[in-house]
């Protein structure tokens, strides 16, 4: 990692406003302009220049401690980092290694594992993908069936993962596997690391409803990896994965998607000549108010993190609210577009005017990361304490 004027020893020593200014300057100077506000999730070959630029400045892993090459940001600084990246329209890189796997390895991995894997994430040598979901365990992760059986010094893995983001781009997969078939529910699940080039691993892209292919299915057919690729304690994978979800859960409820869509509403209504229609304006105001209230709600949860406390089960309400608001906005966009709501491609190639694209993309928001139905079950039981 080569230093730059953006590489500091202690980012947390800056005031919030100074740090925010630093992030803004960094993005302005270093973010590849052509990758700003991408209409789809970038593949590794597209995102690589930006990934390597982040790496060069030591800005890849805001959430990792300094000692492992991260930025070591406090919770409140992490939120600023994310906010500014979102506001700027920064492209997401294949970031599962930084966001999910890194923190897990730092907390549960052996010293050897940390020393081996973490630097390779930061250098761009290893791109990671995540293997949690399975075809029949969408919102019901506990019922996963991909098995790993110990055979001598090796785990033998058979099964299938799905909804793996950018699976085809990854060098490694961190995955949950069933290691004790007799155990029930969340017990008997372990955390394994598998090279994607292993014999018996195959990847099949999933074409989404919005005709993008960021997800894939990953198949495991007698895939063998060394026993040492287990992370943490045997059969405790589920609790480990869950413990790490804490910080991630607020991001699922970030106003980003809704704000992004909302910001396009006025221009869309103007393009279609309905901005002065009072009925359109009233609906616009309703959604505006919903968005501002959602931001206020988000700040309440962010405050909890800023105070160094743990998020409760009610953070599910945040994700629920954001995903449904995002959809309402996208449905209004479709309505504004009139006949163009049926277009396959953007008007004049302008993604900001592509209501049907945003509408279709938004369909996923209430399904992934725990479907709305499951979120409501969780809230009913764990927040409202209903029987």
């Amino acid at each position: 990692m080569s230093a730059s004027r953006y590489t500091l020893d202690d980012y947390n020593a800056l005031g919030d406003d100074d740090f925010r200014a630093l992030v803004r300057d960094f993005l302005k100077e270093c973010h590849p302009p052509e990758l700003r506000n991408p209409v789809k999730r970038l593949h590794w070959d597209e995102a690589k220049p930006w990934y390597m630029e982040l790496s060069r400045h030591g800005w890849l892993a805001p959430n990792w401690p300094k000692q492992y090459g991260g930025m070591g940001l406090s919770a409140s600084k992490q939120l600023i980092y994310v906010e500014e990246f979102e506001n700027f329209g920064a492209a997401r890189t294949p970031d599962h290694g930084m966001m999910l796997f890194g923190p897990l390895l730092i907390r549960y991995g052996s010293e050897e594992q940390k020393a081996h894997f973490l630097p390779k994430i930061l250098s761009g040598e290893h791109i990671w993908c995540q293997g949690y979901s399975e075809p029949n365990a969408g919102s019901d992760l506990a019922s996963l069936r991909t098995q790993a059986v110990l055979d001598g010094d090796e785990w033998v893995i058979n099964g299938q993962k799905t909804w793996t983001t950018l699976g085809g781009d990854a060098d490694w997969i961190f995955m949950l596997v069933r290691t004790d078939p007799a155990a029930k529910k969340q017990e008997g699940i372990s955390f394994l690391l598998v090279p994607m080039k292993s014999k018996g691993v195959s990847v099949k892209p999933i074409v989404n409803l919005d005709l993008q292919d960021e997800f894939s299915e990953v198949f495991f057919d007698d895939v063998r990896v060394p026993k040492a690729n287990l992370v943490g304690e045997l059969n405790k994978g589920w609790s480990m994965a869950k413990a790490l979800l804490g910080f991630e859960r607020i991001f699922l409820g970030s106003p980003r998607q809704s704000a992004h869509a909302f910001a396009r509403l006025k221009g869309l209504a103007q393009h279609y000549g309905v901005w002065d229609d009072p009925i359109v304006r009233d609906r616009y105001n309703q959604l505006w108010l919903d968005l501002e209230d959602h931001k206020a709600l988000y700040e309440r949860f962010a405050d909890i993190l800023r105070r160094g406390e743990t998020l409760g089960a009610d953070v599910s309400l945040l994700k629920l609210n954001q995903s449904e608001l995002y959809q309402r906005i996208s449905e209004f966009m479709l309505q504004i577009a009139g006949e163009d709501g049926g277009r396959l491609e953007p008007v004049d190639g302008n993604a900001d005017l592509h209501a049907p694209g945003i509408f279709l993309t938004a369909r996923a928001a209430t399904i992934y990361g725990g479907a709305s139905e499951v979120q409501r079950n969780i809230i009913a039981k764990n927040v409202l304490r209903l029987p």
Partner: protein
């Protein structure tokens, strides 16, 4: 209001033959046609001609079947349920404007002749500006479905209908691919050679509106059938997800929309079969407003109820959503038709002496 025996039999037969032409349980033909040009099947088109569908509303003396709106909506409902890609309604609109050999070719399915009437987005009633002077057509027409597959167009102008061949050097066609795998054409006429056609019947546009609403009804019902089937099969947390009360109640709300849409459409068909006037216009707009909204509600919720698999292009349920995205705003979206309903219903009530 209820249909007599003979018409019930017409409806039954039309539904049966529709099922044979366009199978609602097998969408492989639909998948094979999508995102290709022209995006529909000439063989199926000729079959439609043989079955007399292309002249379904045309009086018998003009070579049509002379059937009513109740029959037409039954047919388009079935075509909707099977997501048939053929531009059937646009062709029906065109047939109304044809005569002689053109008419015959259109009725047999030999030729595909489509209506080119719309000049602005969100237009339904109102003036058109395309000119037809000295046998030459100049102007611009929008939203012609599957325009690439047409042999000719029936073009509305203030000077009367002009029939223009698709290959005319004075006509250029710009294609916009659509979410349902089809496309629509923007036709620019620059002194294209036109033959005179005939003025369509007064009810022409409202019939197309209602037929489109019925297509959406077919989409709604087929989507709901497939979704209920899925709820009866898919397991989660060890039980069928159809046992979850929250999903049951949501399915009921969708059924409610389906039933209201059917009631609205069949009511409108009965009113239109009784005669023209503001009440008929109000009824067709009411039905289209309901169908457009209901179709988007039902197809959107169907994706949600299918969960992750519903978000893949591989699963057929998404095809219904895409079709609804194209047809819900087509021939007027729900906002347009709500206003139009209120306008004509107020006229109709005034005519009947009801308090406005």
């Amino acid at each position: 209001m209820a249909l007599d025996e003979e018409r019930l039999e017409n409806v039954r037969m039309l539904r049966e033959s529709a099922a044979a032409v366009a199978d609602r349980s097998d969408l492989s033909r639909v998948r094979a046609q999508r995102f290709r040009q022209p995006g529909f099947d000439r063989a199926v088109w000729r079959q439609m001609g043989e079955l007399g569908w292309l002249g379904l509303r045309l009086p018998e003396e003009r070579g049509g079947a002379g059937l009513g709106m109740a029959e037409l909506i039954a047919l388009t409902e079935e075509l909707g349920a099977a997501l048939a890609p053929e531009p059937f309604i646009s062709a029906l609109m065109a047939t109304d404007m044809l005569d002689g050999a053109r008419l015959e070719a259109a009725l047999t399915g030999e030729a595909v002749i489509l209506a080119a009437w719309q000049e602005k987005p969100r237009q339904l009633d109102g003036e058109v500006e395309t000119s037809f002077v000295d046998g030459r057509v100049s102007g611009r027409k929008l939203q012609v479905p599957m325009a690439l597959g047409a042999d000719a167009f029936a073009v509305t102008t203030p000077q009367g209908v002009a029939i223009v061949d698709a290959g005319d050097p004075g006509l250029s066609i710009e294609i916009t691919p659509a979410q349902d795998g089809g496309h629509w054409g923007t036709l620019t006429f620059n002194g294209a050679r036109g033959e005179p056609g005939r003025a369509p019947r007064e009810s022409w546009l409202d019939e197309a509106v209602l037929a489109t609403a019925a297509t959406l009804l077919g989409i709604i019902d087929a989507t709901l059938e497939r979704t209920v089937d899925y709820l009866n099969v898919r397991q989660q947390f060890g039980v069928k997800i159809g046992t979850f009360q929250a999903l049951q109640h949501r399915a009921v709300d969708l059924k409610q929309q389906a039933l209201l849409t059917r009631a609205s459409i069949e009511d409108a068909a009965a009113i239109m079969d009784e005669g023209q006037g503001p009440a008929a216009k109000a009824a067709s707009s009411r039905a289209k407003a309901r169908a457009s909204d209901a179709a988007l509600i039902v197809t959107r919720q169907a994706i949600q109820l299918h969960g992750g698999i519903g978000y893949t292009d591989e699963h057929d349920i998404g095809l219904f959503l895409r079709k609804a995205m194209v047809l819900a705003p087509s021939l007027g979206d729900s906002a347009l038709h709500r206003r139009r309903f209120a306008q004509f219903q107020t006229q109709a009530d005034a005519k009947e002496g009801l308090p406005a």
